[in-house]
Symmetry: D2
Subunit: 456 residues, 4 copies
């Protein structure tokens, strides 16, 4: 198997004395890592890897970060060697020289991580390492290479082909359900009674799992089965709401999606989640006709504030106008949801939101992260809902508004391609009119292409 694993190259003389802050456990850990890598074919990896993981787990946070520093210092490709072989390749671009180059540019820590993974609990420990390296990265740029190498491995290992979708219900293990309570990030679960309500007959919950992390949800989604597409979040998360009949429901509302593992950030787990859930729901409940989200618009309020302070040309009149001033005044009240909103101010807030979702971009994609997620998946922006989430968080981020993104299986692929290739945002006529109203106040041209399924 040498042809696969490759020969391992490490700096010949690691000098641990030059890492004065290193604890004895960390020194021993680094020594173990060298042994692990130096082993011809990895027979003993099980033992060494388990011991290395154990030692890592005894380290405190600074110890772990110091260990990462050493991984970067001592388990990186050698610039000299890379330079030399790159030069060989420049002179003779043969397949052999390419292979040598490929080999020499891979950091040895990559193979180290593969070998650590062999230990029981290894995968979990590596995810935790990446979580810490990512968290450390924000302040400490140097940890980025560790996070990147782990990310590369984890993205390969957590390839969608290795994930299984499972329904979670009240018959699931308590140890698993408890994690939903802990992880739920969008609409917090207030204990077991609340959780139980979210698993009743008119609710569904699905999660992706990986065989190396049994009973550990990776990403989960909560669904309400309703009549009509929901306009408000409160009835969906009210523990005391009466239980509806799932068979008579015509809509499945995805009201919460939670990524559970910080160490898997950036690994694309969720792409096929909603699609698979839609397929499962359709075969289970053939009367369902609408599959839609009820989503926060987390960047809206911040954008509004920034834009008001410093409007771009296209919106300068809008932002300077009395309606926008009125909107901001009402939003500044203690309980904006309890205020009387004149119709034109309501309209203005909705129009501003439609504009934000349809026209404000970062690179070629919408500024709003939730919009990016659903539009990449091939969903259509259907509606923004007035005071759909008047909770403090909902007001602070989204001015109380929430959006419905609709998933139509037949359109997902086409929408996805239009979005990713042409940068077009599939949206309902209503959404486009709302945004146009705003733009119309400036009479300028309009960019978003009208897109409704079955109409073009």
């Amino acid at each position: 198997m040498r042809n696969i694993v490759g020969l391992l190259r490490l700096k010949s003389k690691p000098d641990l004395r030059s890492a004065p802050g290193l604890s004895p456990a960390a020194r021993k850990l680094v020594k173990l890592c060298r042994e692990l890598l130096s082993d011809l074919n990895g027979t003993s990896n099980g033992v060494l890897a388990a011991e290395a993981i154990r030692l890592y787990e005894t380290l405190d946070r600074p110890g772990r970060l110091a260990f990462f520093d050493l991984l970067i210092r001592d388990f990186s490709p050698s610039p000299d060697e890379v330079g030399r072989i790159a030069e060989d390749y420049r002179r003779d671009p043969s397949p052999e020289n390419l292979k040598r180059l490929q080999h020499v540019v891979e950091p040895p820590r990559q193979e180290l991580f593969r070998r650590l993974n062999i230990a029981a609990g290894g995968t979990r420990a590596l995810i935790e390492m990446r979580r810490l390296a990512l968290a450390g990265t924000e302040s400490q740029a140097p940890l980025e290479p560790v996070a990147a190498d782990l990310g590369h491995l984890l993205a390969s290992w957590f390839n969608s082909g290795f994930l299984t979708l499972e329904r979670i219900d009240w018959n699931s293990p308590a140890a698993l359900l408890e994690k939903l309570i802990e992880y739920e990030a969008v609409h917090r679960i207030q204990g077991w009674r609340d959780l139980r309500r979210r698993l009743e007959a008119d609710r569904r919950c699905y999660s992706f799992f990986h065989s190396a992390l049994p009973n550990e949800p990776l990403i989960f989604i909560e669904v309400a089965l309703t009549r009509g597409i929901s306009e408000k979040i409160q009835p969906l998360i009210d523990p005391d709401a009466p239980v509806g009949d799932p068979v008579s429901a015509d809509s499945a509302i995805f009201y919460s999606i939670t990524n559970c593992q910080a160490g898997l950030r950036g690994v694309p787990l969720g792409n096929s989640l909603i699609k698979q859930v839609v397929e499962d729901l359709r075969s289970d409940l053939p009367r369902l006709r609408n599959f839609a989200t009820l989503s926060p618009i987390p960047g809206f309020r911040d954008w509004l504030a920034r834009e008001h302070a410093n409007p771009k040309t296209a919106l300068s009149d809008v932002m300077a106008g009395p309606e926008t001033a009125g909107v901001l005044a009402l939003l500044g009240q203690p309980r904006p949801d309890e205020c009387e909103w004149p119709a034109e101010l309501k309209q203005r807030l909705l129009s501003l939101c439609a504009w934000y979702l349809l026209n404000e971009k970062r690179d070629s994609e919408p500024l709003d992260p939730v919009a990016r997620f659903h539009l990449r998946n091939g969903a259509r922006l259907e509606r923004v809902n007035w005071m759909a989430d008047p909770s403090p968080g909902g007001m602070r981020q989204s001015a109380g508004l929430m959006a419905n993104y609709v998933y139509e299986l037949n359109d997902l692929q086409r929408n996805h391609e239009l979005y990713t290739r042409a940068g077009e945002i599939p949206a309902s006529g209503r959404m486009e009119r709302l945004a146009r109203n705003l733009a119309g106040s400036r009479k300028h041209g309009w960019l978003t292409r009208r897109f409704e399924p079955g109409i073009e």
Copy 2:
């Protein structure tokens, strides 16, 4: 996730017209692969990947090989780009330039394979691709890059940490047991009756499995529970042998190990297999004291013939002597196992075998592939057994002899290190004396270090 997956680079103008032998299906497949790779974040991969896998499976063998050719022609790194970035790195060996270089040397087909894996049955199809690429490689050198890239991915995905050891018995699914009959490579299973005997109370069978290939054994091992370390294979594989009491057994004899997936050749699946099996057996049957193989010596007879024809200096007298001539004459008989073997000729054959196992090397390891496997694992060469396998295959490969390699959990790590670092072969005194007898006839010095557990 772009930071993980990376931007994808393909030759800008693939010209499928210049691949005249390509069938329409293969053309469509290549087109799909391009789409799959060009997709921003892979939302649609599920659909495209499934369609690509389906198309691949409609191709005949020449069509598949032609597809591989295109993967090599069009989905490889661009030498120009690699050369350019290597040159950048040569001038400025910064982390950024290293990263660009790492990125540019990875063949795009690697990411293609990751995306194909998303389809249901994707992993199975990729293993099959590699099997074919490896088979094609023997004659057609150009397919090696496809085999190598797939091998790299599969080695990562089939990391020991993702394998689970399971016991197989008569309560296992018939669909699984049927595969044992099909795959068993060492001592063929003669139908269901034979299989059933191998799963009785005094036998054990274990296999590694991967979650992406349910009910598909990757590598399996067959064990007989006996009194004493077995000297002959026949009683272990006789379907009519009486069933012994496992509780009174003192020895577990590993009499067959089979790699099941040709497409996983070189992926180290078996390293920890025997060790884990020993641990499971020990906790299940605490009276077991010996854990040993009864193994073929597949290269012995060929070596003997080569050496006799053209002896190296150290063995020239031995090979020229009358005993060796007598040994070869008897081995040339139609049924050597039924001949009368004078004691000195028996002794000579055993000594030649001990010499072969202990002294004949390829690089720093034994010439014999089975010896390499067990010695890397940390086993000790204990004994060679007279006419242990008088079947035609056993005579042809191993002159009827078989070896016992002993696994002692406490010694595995030390043995492994001595073997891999110092090139020493842990062997019983008996084995060393046998080999020395032969050498003794030349009075030359002796190299193999005596090694017995607990004695040094």
Copy 3:
């Protein structure tokens, strides 16, 4: 719980000396049974019951029969006591006296069996006891009480409410599949290859199981998915028949039903089997329209011979006629299926069979046992098929003919009631015409009511 279990009464002075043939083990077993029964609340039953079962299993057949004799002699109700309490009840038919009477007429061995059941493997042992008692009964009338008491208990324990229907396929445990090969009684399974064919995509197999006998089929049914209602058995049981596409099948043919446990004879396990299988098939394969058996007619040939030798009035002309003589002559040939059958003789044989099925009764039900089973279930007699089973057994029992009984879910209940209450046999017009032809030759009146669904 004394109110439930009741006080236990045994003959006060069992005299084992008067059972001279009893082995020491059997004596000890009887002693244990007494202890088991004398125990106040059965705390120690687990231990005593396990020991008793173990002892029973050491007995040879005569020993077991002698044990049964003692169960009858010593563990029966006391006639004196029964007489006395019956007399009390005659004088005063109060609820209390009824209760005393109920209690005193139950044989103590009934409670003994309940307590033996507590041991691990107890249920299995009791089924085996009943099998032996039934087998013994044919010659030895006295064992009947043991068989009857066990039958009473087992009928209660194996109540349909406690049985679970499970599909058996090639992924089922080999230890279970092996039992199908052993048990199949209608069309013998010729080894694993044959079995595997019967579990391919165009076949189905279902069995009832009970939680106390894991992996032990109680009654199983084999189904072929075909186009059209099968007329011949051979294509259904040919191991080399090409595998059809289950999705395009329109008919499910029940071609074999086997009761597996001789000790459960008379316990109604099969009543709901076909009905549940039909429901499962319908939801799995919505295109299925016909659910029918292809059944042997096991009493036909014997009846024909008896009737010919000694015809009843209604058939005396028919039996004396030249057609019947011709039929019998051809059936007497070595390979009747290879003979040329003139059309009128074919017709005569089919008519005789239709008559046999529709008109020959035992009490109020058909003489043919297979007909009784399906008609009680609510099926309709649809067709008899020419040379449908030309195997030696098929010729010997059924003159090569086989019958289709059709299960229509909507008619089962009505058919069942007509059959069980009015003694009417639901049959197709074709079957009635066939029988009438025969009768017509005598011009006498006709009894069977015409019955076709949706027509009346």
Copy 4:
């Protein structure tokens, strides 16, 4: 199968008009029950039974009780017929007449219940019927026959041989765990946090299950793994108690046993529970040496009050003495556990309790129901503990005291026999001395036999 099921006899002319309070649903239910019973072989039972169960469940409580009344009036043995056959038997006590008598004394509703059981959910419904009949019985004597017949069937169906012991832990389904919270009767579980603590590493929970009631605990037991035999309940049920290491524990304390199904009252489910749990714990945690309960003494305080008011001769001095008066005075305080108890009063209360447990009988067994349960099982009364449960319930029932009963596997059978046959109570010397102290004050003789394992 007619020989097993028997012919069914019902009153020939049931007159539902004479049951004027009967609702239409109840009338229809009774009609269905007649059909169900009249069916020859029960083919249609599935349908009829399901419909009958459904109808029953639509009835309100009075409707159900009225239905029971009809079961008693119309589905009972006919006194005339019983009288006549009893008379036959009196004249000729032949096996045939006995059989007829057995048959005629069985109430037809027994067979009715067997047939109702066939419906999905039938078993559950029958258990519910018995619960209601038992509850009704306390006031309405006439329902006793229904409860008794159901009890007879359920005792047979829930025979220990059909129960499986399973460990419950935090990985069990939430729907099951929720039932523990609901059912726990001894020390109430205060929500999910409390439950979780009771399932931590130093706790165990086991339950018996029946295959007809999946995920429905029948009887469950909670165990604490401790060092030493616990004297106080509080540390065992404190949700905030630190989690101990189960491997270092030497004692398993059974601190709660709960029967879950009121409809199974009197069915002996618990006999083998503790024994099986002890065996499981021993193989799992070989260091455990003590297996003991910490049990309430629920009848003690009431007995004390009754005895004080109206002492029997043997205790008249004791009851009249100043110590007893002091004990009662302190027990009358608001928080007796916080009072200062003089040593002699403590001693007096413990002695009274020992006397109560060892000498106060109902029939031949102790008055205390918990003592009866454990002593029948073969346990030994080891100790009574001072203020072990100072909760309001503990004070009210047991004067704050709790008892340890010790389970030693080797002694269970002998203890059980001594107890059930000779009426002896196995007890520690300490317990006997405590009781004797009290008796000693009267100098009268002593009955309880000293019994300590390994000493006699």
